[in-house]
């Protein structure tokens, strides 16, 4: 690592089009990234953001259009070729090998690695490289022991180590908390300010665009919807480009005061994590009827395990859950008796059977009840189909075909189908975990409205989310989960963000 680093490249792509079968994913899109710019690529899910960067990176070959770097016309056929031009990408999902150390991961990514690795020399070089990096990391730490934010930073370090000069970040903050997101993006921003790097940030969060980016390109349905400098565009103007309609700042419709009656009560809940170590150290929580209790926290502090225990996917070591004073266990009889519903995270994995049809998935809660079951064991397919069609229409599931396998639906529509199943009946307790993760504005608004509607009808709602803004918008009371316990109760009105941030970071 010497001080002579080539300047970031000037990348221009013009008239890029790409079809997948009959689907036109990109239609005549142009984008230009000047050296030393922090450029945002904004768009809803399915707008073509990933497709265009995959064309830039050589994963896809564009049907039409041309690219140039520093004025010279180029063709990029493979990721390796893209890399040789100084282009690198950090994917939405981590590309670090979990069981390896940071050093092993960095070295493994290095091109031209000899058969026998001279660890002494490699580590010396890595340490020299890290000394210049604005972010410190333990080379000997195993990647699976790092928090999501640290992993994301190691991903960026890896790109720098590979001499990337134009770095594409594909929704890098989707798995991060706000603090972690600020740290990662701030880090990237400093590198841009030092003229070491240009960044193309794919996102659908305006906050990130406004706070970190110089320029923005907006895509909508595979077409260029607008571009310009972030200084000259307001958030609502960008939203308009993105959505095709002005985005109204949503007023939260909160009606009816929470009752004083505790409905869901969690007492001294302890459980082990996947690694066999105790991760829940006695969680105590009470949710009253007609209120949303939000749980904030950095991922990996026991939220996932807490929801799994509540949903019956993980056994507790001790403690109990009661609903209206009665013991609650996740049996079908008690779930029904207590009106207890769950929206787990990653619904396709935790709340659906991907190869079964949408209709079948939708009746999981009631298939053993009349009218779906007759004579004690026969299923009435026609009744199932009727219910599914009604729910699909009410919750706007696309495509509206009850017989399609659930796994064929997009993420947003899987979530809609699961919402339809969980929220169509009489809900007295609802536990939701990151219900809007990775969804676009419309879907997020829809889900937020539903959660509020459920609350307003008098249900006790426990909302576990890594999105602090979401919690501040929806919750009546907020707790911070840290180190396997729940602490620091506050309300959105009184919330002190610094205080919450410190709690989330584990400082008391």
């Amino acid at each position: 690592m010497t001080g002579t680093k080539p300047a970031p490249p000037h990348l221009a792509a013009r008239g890029i089009s790409k079809h997948f079968g009959s689907l036109k994913a990109l239609d005549d899109v142009s984008i230009e990234i000047v050296p030393g710019a922090f450029h945002a690529l904004l768009g809803e899910n399915g707008a073509g953001k990933s497709t265009i960067v995959k064309c830039l990176m050589g994963f896809h070959r564009a049907d039409a259009g041309e690219m140039s770097i520093d004025g010279r016309h180029i063709v990029i056929d493979s990721p390796r070729q893209a890399r040789s031009h100084g282009l690198g990408m950090v994917f939405q999902h981590f590309t670090l090998i979990p069981s390896m150390t940071v050093a092993e991961n960095l070295v493994l990514a290095r091109p031209g690695l000899p058969l026998v690795i001279d660890w002494k020399a490699e580590k010396k070089e890595l340490r020299a490289f890290l000394e210049q990096a604005p972010f410190k990391v333990d080379l000997e730490a195993r990647v699976d022991t790092l928090a999501a934010g640290q992993k994301q930073k190691v991903e960026i370090l890896k790109e720098l180590y590979l001499q990337t000069r134009l770095l594409i970040l594909d929704e890098p903050t989707s798995v991060l908390t706000r603090n972690e997101a600020d740290e990662v993006l701030g880090y990237a921003r400093r590198l841009v300010d030092r003229k070491e790097l240009s960044v193309l940030l794919i996102t659908h969060k305006f906050r990130e665009v406004i706070e970190y980016c110089d320029e923005v390109t907006v895509l909508r349905r595979g077409r260029l919807a607008g571009a310009g400098s972030t200084a000259s565009l307001s958030a609502s103007r960008m939203a308009e480009m993105m959505m095709g309609e002005p985005r109204v700042q949503k007023d939260v419709n909160r009606s009816g005061a929470s009752s004083a009656r505790p409905v869901l009560r969690i007492e001294d809940l302890r459980a082990r994590g996947d690694n066999g170590l105790e991760v829940l150290h006695g969680v105590n929580l009470t949710v009253r009827g007609g209120e949303i209790v939000g749980i904030a926290g950095v991922s990996g502090n026991g939220q996932k395990e807490l929801v799994e225990v509540i949903a019956g996917q993980r056994s507790a070591l001790s403690g109990r859950i009661t609903v209206n004073g009665e013991n609650h266990l996740p049996t079908r009889a008690l779930l029904r008796r207590h009106g207890f519903f769950t929206l787990p995270e990653e619904p396709l994995r935790n709340a659906a059977v991907p190869w079964m049809s949408v209709a079948e998935n939708m009746v999981f809660g009631v298939f053993d009840q009349k009218p779906f079951q007759r004579s004690g064991f026969l299923l009435d397919r026609a009744a199932m189909d009727r219910l599914a069609r009604e729910l699909i229409a009410r919750f706007s599931v696309r495509p509206p075909s009850p017989n399609l396998p659930m796994g064929n639906l997009s993420g947003g529509n899987v979530q809609r189908a699961i919402l339809a199943r969980e929220l169509s009946g009489e809900v007295r307790v609802l536990v939701a975990a990151n219900p809007c993760f990775g969804l676009d504005f419309k879907a997020v608004d829809f889900i937020h409205d539903l959660l509020l509607e459920t609350r307003n009808k008098g249900a006790a709602v426990l909302l576990v989310s890594e999105d602090l803004d979401e919690l501040l918008t929806l919750s009546d009371r907020i707790f911070v989960m840290t180190g396997g316990t729940v602490a620091h109760e506050t309300t959105p009105a009184e919330a002190d963000l610094t205080m919450i941030g410190r709690q989330m970071a584990g400082h008391h």
Partner: protein, 309 residues
């Protein structure tokens, strides 16, 4: 100890056990190292039992025909390589399950071995020369108990070599990457299928060398029951060893020792419960499986993508 026919007592049992463990550990050692390499790449090869038997019959046949036991070992390794390659090819087809393909390979490998084995009526093929570790003793029983096959030392060397490969070479890192997170490995430009193919084929070759020991060591005959399920037990042993080649060695010695329990007690005249003692490796396998498998957590050291596409 009331029964001391050779006047050695507990000492005799210890030496007989140690010798028995070293001898008996060899098939476990090679199969578990082969399986360890296979599983580190993210694939499971349950067909090792078939590979072991094919290795045994090949080594026997080639040693008998050429008169060179070392050629027999090499031929066994080559056959193991081919069987491993078949398993690798099979399990990389879409919708083929590792376990189902492995069971098919057990049946295929053992059937093939029995078919070829019918022709080898030679009572005894030329055997591998032995390394005498018991020369310090004047007791004949100890000397004979500590005459160890050279494959034992080769196995130890292979275990340390594998460990070195996994931590110090780029191909070792690639194998681990392919086994832990194939998606990430692909993003790094690693040819996951190619890496796995080579790892599985070489794992088969290693396991077949374990089979060669079965027929090229005393009594040096081929019989259909020669492996007694050691190929399957060695697969379980890899779990016990937490996918570490060096721990595979220790586990193989433990299993070899358990296997030597019955015969060494018998050599001292303790013949009661002979068959029960002979069942100890199987009991040990069960105990290991029960002790290491908990529903509530993942096993430490397990490759992240084991058995997945």
């Amino acid at each position: 100890m009331q029964l001391q026919p050779e006047g050695l007592g507990a000492w005799g049992i210890a030496v007989a056990l140690a010798g028995g463990a070293m001898r008996g550990s060899i098939p476990y050692m090679f199969v578990s190292l082969g399986e360890c390499l296979t599983e580190k790449s993210g694939k499971i090869n349950l067909g090792m039992e078939g590979v072991l038997l094919m290795g045994a019959v090949t080594a026997f046949g080639v040693s008998d025909l050429t008169g060179s036991p070392w050629l027999g070992v090499l031929a066994a390794a080559a056959v193991g390589l081919v069987l491993g390659a078949i398993h690798a090819w099979l399990t990389q087809q879409p919708a083929v399950n590792d376990v189902a393909a492995g069971i098919a390979m057990i049946i295929f490998g053992s059937g093939l071995a029995f078919f070829f084995g019918k022709r080898f009526v030679a009572p005894m093929a030329p055997q591998l020369p032995l390394v005498a570790l018991g020369e310090w003793s004047r007791v004949g029983a100890i000397q004979s108990a500590l005459r160890i096959s050279p494959l034992f030392f080769i196995g130890i060397a292979v275990a340390f070599l594998l460990n070195w490969v996994f931590t110090r070479t780029s191909c070792g890192l690639k194998v681990r990457a392919a086994g832990d997170d194939p998606q990430a490995a692909r993003a790094l430009g690693i040819d996951v299928n190619g890496v796995r193919f080579i790892a599985i084929a070489m794992g088969g070759a290693l396991a077949a060398v374990g089979g060669a020991h079965l027929t090229l060591y005393f009594p040096g005959i081929w019989s259909e029951g020669i492996s007694g399920g050691q190929g399957l037990m060695a697969v379980a042993l890899v779990i016990f060893a937490r996918w570490s080649p060096r721990r595979c060695l220790a586990a193989a010695l433990l299993f070899g020792g358990a296997q030597a329990l019955g015969p060494s007690l018998q050599s001292l005249g303790i013949t009661g419960y002979y068959y029960l003692f002979n069942a100890s490796p199987y009991l040990l396998t069960l105990a290991v499986m029960v002790a290491t498998c908990t529903p509530s957590r993942r096993l430490a050291g397990m490759p992240g993508a084991l058995g997945k596409k």
